[in-house]
């Protein structure tokens, strides 16, 4: 641990207070790190980032008001050198890709934070990227898959909400036939047997959220 240098300044973003508390407790024991601010959604994260210019930002993805990916996009557009670590519960190649494309430097699972968080903060601060092996495997597995279109993702999200084709058609103001066509494409692209299976795969791969 290099104590002679200035400590790494950290912004912690998560909508769940107990998780922020845990991160704070863990960081408090590290002489080379200091927690400069916290935020509970994407919008607050952008504000806090502007105010504090942290060295490393820890970002949750599922948050109310503004989600993590949108916040990452906004922050990286304004501050291209921002170093952001994504913290989330589930692996899912699509969700990982979205976050990385938005500009995240590392992707961590909340279940592994205890052992991985501090090292990852140091690595990312030193300018490196970090993706855990279990996440990387998922990414590789689907690297050549056809990705769903924005409309297909929307349809899948509505299917996961328990909507019938007719209701989906009404909500998207398209015909029921078009919905059926979308669903056929979704099943083919995901290699799913039926709607429920497609939702399961969608959740596992982070195409849609719980």
């Amino acid at each position: 641990m290099s104590t002679d240098r200035a400590p790494i300044r950290i912004l912690s973003v998560d909508d769940h207070p107990l998780l922020r508390e845990g991160v704070a407790a863990l960081l408090a024991g590290q002489p080379d790190m200091t927690l400069v601010a916290e935020a509970s959604n994407g919008r607050e994260a952008i504000e806090q980032f502007r105010k504090h210019r942290p060295d490393v930002t820890l970002m949750d993805l599922q948050m109310p008001e503004m989600n993590g990916v949108d916040a990452i996009i906004a922050i990286c557009a304004e501050f291209p050198a921002a170093r952001i670590v994504v913290l989330t519960t589930y692996t899912g190649d699509v969700q990982v890709l979205r976050a990385l494309k938005a500009g995240a430097r590392a992707y961590l699972l909340k279940g592994l934070l205890r052992k991985e968080l501090l090292d990852t903060i140091r690595l990312v601060h030193a300018g490196q990227k970090r993706i855990l092996p279990e996440v990387a495997t998922q990414l590789a597995e689907h690297a050549t898959d056809d990705s769903l279109s924005a409309r297909e993702i929307e349809v899948l999200r509505l299917v996961s909400g328990g909507n019938a084709n007719k209701e989906i058609a009404a909500q998207l103001t398209i015909t029921e036939e078009t919905v059926k066509g979308h669903i056929k494409n979704i099943l083919a692209k995901l290699g799913a047997n039926d709607r429920t299976h497609a939702v399961t795969i969608g959740l596992k791969r982070g195409i849609i959220e719980l």
Partner: protein, 339 residues
């Protein structure tokens, strides 16, 4: 109900034809017997209702119109001298049509309502599961993950020694438990069977059960399908699969069977699942009382009742057990069943 409804289904068309033949026979008989228009229109009504029950709204509308034409042309002229227009004829025709359509619409409505109620019940349960999964994810899981970080902070501050080592092990176990919880929450959202093919799912389960069966002597399972497998609602499929699981588990674990047979029949009006074994049978007292915690019989019955199916369990000491689950086609295949 759309125009293609009765044209596209051969069965409905046949019912429609049957209705027309019925009308013709009644007309002939009425002319032969010189029946009063009142009793004839009553007979016609019966035919119209029959057609609306079997072949749908459009067919019955068509049949009732034909009935009015028959009534008008053959019987009402009997009451009035030929060549003059009888205002009574128009009133009678209108009354007949109104009655016929009112009955038809009522039948269609009741039918649609029951189907809608069933679908709603499925959707409600799916929505409920989603809600539970989301709640667990947002509260319990996040809290535990946060607490684990707090524990780690405490761990870091401890001097090395036995206590620290012990805590490390506990924390690792806790990590595992949380991971399992996370996966369970994700699975709440998904179906127990990822394949719509019940037979496949059951065969897979059979393989699993026989692999955990101690040593040799594991019974053989043969799964067969009759009819063309059809799309089932995920919740319903889950329910059927769970009943099948219970029956198969009983056969594998308790029955001491040599052979287990499972038949799935995708009939037009009935989806039927039969699971038979040649084991020692279930004690009749148990079968009737359905004692809790063993065999899982009450659970099977409850599930069957909830989905509107009929479950019969037959068993005799030394002769084996047969579980027979019958689900009406309207429930099993949903509203768009008559494709």
């Amino acid at each position: 109900m759309t125009g293609t409804f009765w044209i596209s289904t051969g069965k409905s068309a046949a019912q429609f034809l049957l209705g027309i033949i019925g009308l013709a026979l009644i007309t002939l008989a009425a002319v032969w017997l010189h029946l009063q228009p009142g009793s004839i229109s009553l007979l016609y009504l019966i035919v119209v209702v029959f057609v609306s029950l079997r072949a749908g709204l459009l067919s019955s509308l068509a049949v009732s119109l034909i009935a009015v034409v028959c009534l008008h042309n053959y019987f009402l002229p009997l009451l009035s001298p030929t060549g003059t227009k009888n205002p009574l004829a128009i009133v009678a025709a209108a009354a007949f049509l109104t009655t016929a359509w009112a009955i038809t619409a009522m039948v269609a409505r009741v039918r649609k309502l029951t189907e809608a109620q069933l679908i709603l019940r499925f959707e409600e349960r799916l929505a409920e599961r989603t809600r539970i999964a989301r709640e667990l994810h947002d509260t319990l899981l996040q809290s535990f993950q946060g607490l684990m970080l707090n524990f780690q902070a405490v761990y870091d501050s401890l001097p090395s020694g036995q206590a620290k080592e012990a805590l490390e092990k506990v924390l690792d176990r806790a990590d595992q438990a949380i991971m399992e919880g996370r996966d369970a929450i994700q699975n709440l959202r998904s179906s127990t069977t990822t394949t719509n093919e019940l037979a496949q799912a059951m065969a897979a389960l059979g393989e699993e059960l026989s692999s955990v069966h101690d040593g040799g002597g594991s019974p053989t399972l043969r799964v067969s399908i009759e009819g063309t497998p059809r799309e089932l609602h995920p919740i319903l499929r889950d329910d059927i699969y769970r009943i099948a699981c219970e029956a198969l588990r009983n056969a594998f674990r308790h029955a001491q069977a040599n052979k287990i047979e499972a038949d799935i029949t995708y009939g037009e009006r009935l989806l039927r699942l039969r699971i038979r074994d040649d084991g020692k049978g279930i004690d009749p007292k148990l079968l009737n009382a359905g004692r809790d915690g063993h065999w899982g019989l009450p659970g099977m019955r409850e599930r069957a009742e909830q989905m509107g199916a009929r479950l019969d369990i037959w068993s005799e000491a030394g002769l084996g057990t047969e579980v027979d689950l019958r689900i009406p086609g309207t429930v099993a295949y949903g509203t768009e069943g008559s494709r």
